[in-house]
Symmetry: D3
Subunit: 247 residues, 6 copies
């Protein structure tokens, strides 16, 4: 089984980290490849960053299709381009946010997500809602540290996360914590040990879910919504700017 782990941003050190997280839990018979595009934002912090990263990410999936990849994991917690990716792929495509939420809904009754920057809170809330977890998700919190700050000062990142997990237990009555950024992946076990509450990392969750789905023989449905994009003849016309009212 071959799983392609795509970090949609262009920071190779994050790609290494998510690969490390993945390899630690994968079956030895699972082949895992991790890639990142070059020309995408160095981190995904908001919808514009997402949008600029998705075409290159889809391109990695197309390459994966040619190489017989069995399943794909999108290693960014915003699950950027998830629906688009599923249209292109035959095998299952797992978003780390959706996988982490599914795990959280299975091992706890109520959970809290903790992410990096406050600007990602509404994005993650919208995902929580789209994945049907509104009722189970107590809160989406942020430690107010940029994504790359996790890498630059991991000690401070860990301190902030431990503090925020404490608040989630106390104020939200959270029963499990979902880490809201792929870059937090390697801290997962230490955070759980420090706080006494299950801490779920989406990369880990997604890789295991990917193995599970491939192992069961599931493929992305090509009936309607996730059907392959229609092949269309290119438009003959070049770029255009027209002016209507000349106010």
């Amino acid at each position: 089984m071959h799983i392609l782990l795509i970090n949609p941003n262009s920071t190779a050190s994050m790609t290494s980290q998510v690969l490390e997280s993945a390899v630690r839990v994968a079956y030895p018979t699972t082949r895992i490849t991790a890639v990142n595009p070059v020309d995408t934002p160095v981190s995904i912090e908001g919808g514009a960053d997402e949008a600029m990263a998705v075409p290159a990410m889809l391109s990695e999936i197309r390459k994966g299709q040619a190489q017989g990849v069995d399943a794909y994991v999108i290693a960014c917690f915003d699950d950027p381009g998830l629906h688009a990716a599923r249209e292109i792929a035959r095998g299952p495509v797992i978003g780390i946010c959706q996988a982490a939420i599914q795990v959280a809904m299975t091992i706890s009754r109520r959970f809290t997500v903790i992410t990096t920057l406050p600007r990602s809170i509404p994005i993650i809330e919208d995902l929580v809602s789209a994945y049907g977890a509104n009722h189970h998700c107590r809160n989406v919190r942020a430690i107010n540290l940029p994504v790359l700050g996790l890498d630059e000062d991991p000690v401070e990142a860990e301190r902030l996360l431990v503090m925020e997990i404490g608040k989630a237990k106390q104020e939200d009555r959270a029963e499990a914590i979902v880490l809201g950024c792929a870059g937090m992946s390697l801290l997962c076990d230490r955070l759980s040990a420090a706080t006494g509450i299950p801490v779920i990392d989406g990369v880990t969750a997604a890789v295991k879910v990917a193995e599970a789905l491939v192992g069961a023989g599931y493929k992305t449905s090509k009936v309607n919504g996730y059907d392959f994009p229609r092949v269309k003849s290119p438009s003959p016309v070049s770029s255009m700017e027209q002016v209507g009212n000349l106010a």
Copy 2:
């Protein structure tokens, strides 16, 4: 890894079937044991049947705990006693309905559930809602065949299921089908082949999800909602009937 597969009803032939489904997809390193209680209903068709089956099912989980079982699968689509089971178990407890729905939400945008008797439709709708899939589930349908009818006349069962899947594609625009009864498990591949749409069997889904969760090291959260039942000294009083107003 040891997974305990519990068929909560007392029909041993169904236990054999779900075990067969489980073994076909499990990793060779996964040990799978399947059990069923003796004194529970022969099939689970409604809330009263569920209620009568749960204590014996919990008792199997308690035995499993003593034997070091790593995860549990409840092999009945009503997910009877799921929350109770999670209170008792340390490892993850997977309901086949929840697992199937999580798969359906990952490989399709819209799905339909097909179950046996119409009386189970509101029960399953309530589960769909509890698992956050209201928006993704197009419909819950029934073929109007009792659970044991699947075993007694598998040819007719298959014919009815193929017909109902056709309606689900046509009338519901379903993109995937979830089989709403553990007893349909072995028909899964044939139905998918016959209808050209992914068909998801909960037993298969749950066993793979169980492997995934154990493989990732996840355990049921013991913070609050799924904490072990409190140990209480038995009440000294015997049974009681009191009459208030003697109208």
Copy 3:
């Protein structure tokens, strides 16, 4: 009219209390009998306790059916086995949580529930959601006292409840309070007097709703979802344990 009040736990002093609450509000022409099983948990604190209490509770309902009982009240705020009970009974079955919530939605626009232990909070939240009161319920709070603690130290219980009601008024803008445990029943009037806000006890509410439904001639619908359990021939097979993969 004969109403059977079932305390699903085995603590007879609680049965007496709920009976007292019931008799105080019932019409003199209403005959009220209160029972509790012997072999169930001494208090219901979580899903496992519920599950262990339901079969004996259903058995009381079957007896009630033979005796011509007109309606049933389940005197535990988790409404354990409510759907199952309705399948078995001809007359209406009233859960004290559902009845209290219906009253709260009629005499106020927003209410808060106050229960005993925090572990019951997600259970009650799920009931609130199932009964369609998500929008009207501001909060579910807990005084962090076990169920039997209400009986052991009623003075402390009352102090904690008054304090929590104060917070509900202030922080939640609650307009009414629902007491989230049958064991709080007799405190209801004192709490309301002390805090100046309507306080709703589920036992009282359920008994009056039961009288209302019987008085209007309503019976549980036997069309589909609450139809009587199907009568099934017992399975010929004894208990079974099978091992699939021997990892």
Copy 4:
């Protein structure tokens, strides 16, 4: 106990009918008075009719307050002015739509509402949603007969209702029927007998709920949302029309 039944439209024959329905189920110790204003629409078919009827209805409640009425029933299925009425009254105010829905959610898992004109369908759907019954209400149907048509041709009305109930059973899998107009009240038992499904009339339901709430001692909460309207000194200014832009 004194219950005031207010028919907000000005058709006295409907007032007589709802009184008859009420008296049939009320306890002999319950005093029931039924009134209707004179200057309101002859039937309530839409929001404008509602709006024109509410002030006179509130005026009846104010009179009732002076006379020591214990509870109020608004005998129109749109529950017009329900929140306003609760601000004015001390005792509980019961809307027949809300009461019927609460009964339907107690004796069945899924119900369908059948009303007179299609234009009332969205109004009733909005009430169903406001009362938290979206998940339990299968459908809102209309027989396409004006409200007064029920009175003018009761035979045809009954025929249409029997037919529509048949469709609700077949197409909606309804387990109970809620009659969506006070004017259908007296047909209730015949419809249930003819169709074999519980049929719920809101007037009956509301009167019994009113008795129950008064019997339990519940009053409308005067904390915040349903507090009495503030007393304000009249504005000194007379009517005004101002023109801003004179385009």
Copy 5:
């Protein structure tokens, strides 16, 4: 284009204010007339005030219809009688609450509403829900000042609003503020300047939306829900009071 701005309360100074707000943003080619009835409450603070104001407001719309008005704005944040008004009018009828919420959902991801009295909070929450903004609205807050207090002490009103907006930014993570009372209209720009967050006044929003809808040629749909009220012959019977049970 002729827009009729109706202040449903009888305080002419508020009518002047809302007209001033309207004129400041309207196109010069838009004719704006502002009216208020005489015999309605001096301010709308709750459902009873609303109910007493609506018939006179509908009467203004009927006059507007005769004068060829193109669109109507109801200048009270409770959107009283909005559905009724749309039944009567041919042109679009804009509620200032709905318009403000639509703007807030367009220029921000999450907003908070700030109104006058706490008693209006549940009313506004219900509107937020009816307009589909539950997920986007972080909170509904109140400064605990009566509506006419805005006029009597505008300095204090502004101070309270600035303070509450600060809390909304901090505690709710609001990204925009909706002013929950027509009487706050003229403070809008100053509040936005003082707090650095977009502040949306419903009168402004509604007037511009009204221009937009008329400019696009949209009229209120007369298919079903908003169809004109049916013309009915008046009931021959005069007022009626009947007594059923003489308890």
Copy 6:
């Protein structure tokens, strides 16, 4: 006022059409420019097409920012990249789906959307849900014609649309129709005339809403969710592919 209308696909004839629709309703003082990128799909039919079009669309918005554009309209019914666009723009960004839905919720109580291909149905349903119109939207239908088919055979397109609108009136009880593709824009008036029901074209709606928002002085909130993308130093590392497990 300068509004930039962006057709995200590369088909210039569609750009001309949407410009024509826009100019017909815009104020003469509004300057409208319409553009389309060259290297995007010829039509947007699904998530992958969307993803490939968004970066070039954002680039047009960046150009617009430099040119002092006041508001932006995204002329594709999937509202692709709407959140991303709002992060980049200072002025309001209007999606034609959101604008059309807001209009539909203002002039009717229930509406149906009619789009081109069935594969877009779940996409549009998700938008309807995100915009809070689940309760108001009766159905999303498709005429099963590709986007460019509208241009190639407008007579057939019109015939199919008239037929589907008929079904929406009859089967969905729709009170207004929303056209679910920018390419249907010019058919709007003819469809409304032919079917007697308001038909809403998103381009028209969005242009008028854009004028309204600019006219009122609203800008996109830069507090949190729609703040400008953070400026980040480019990552020093080039592309990377790593292999973890070599199964």
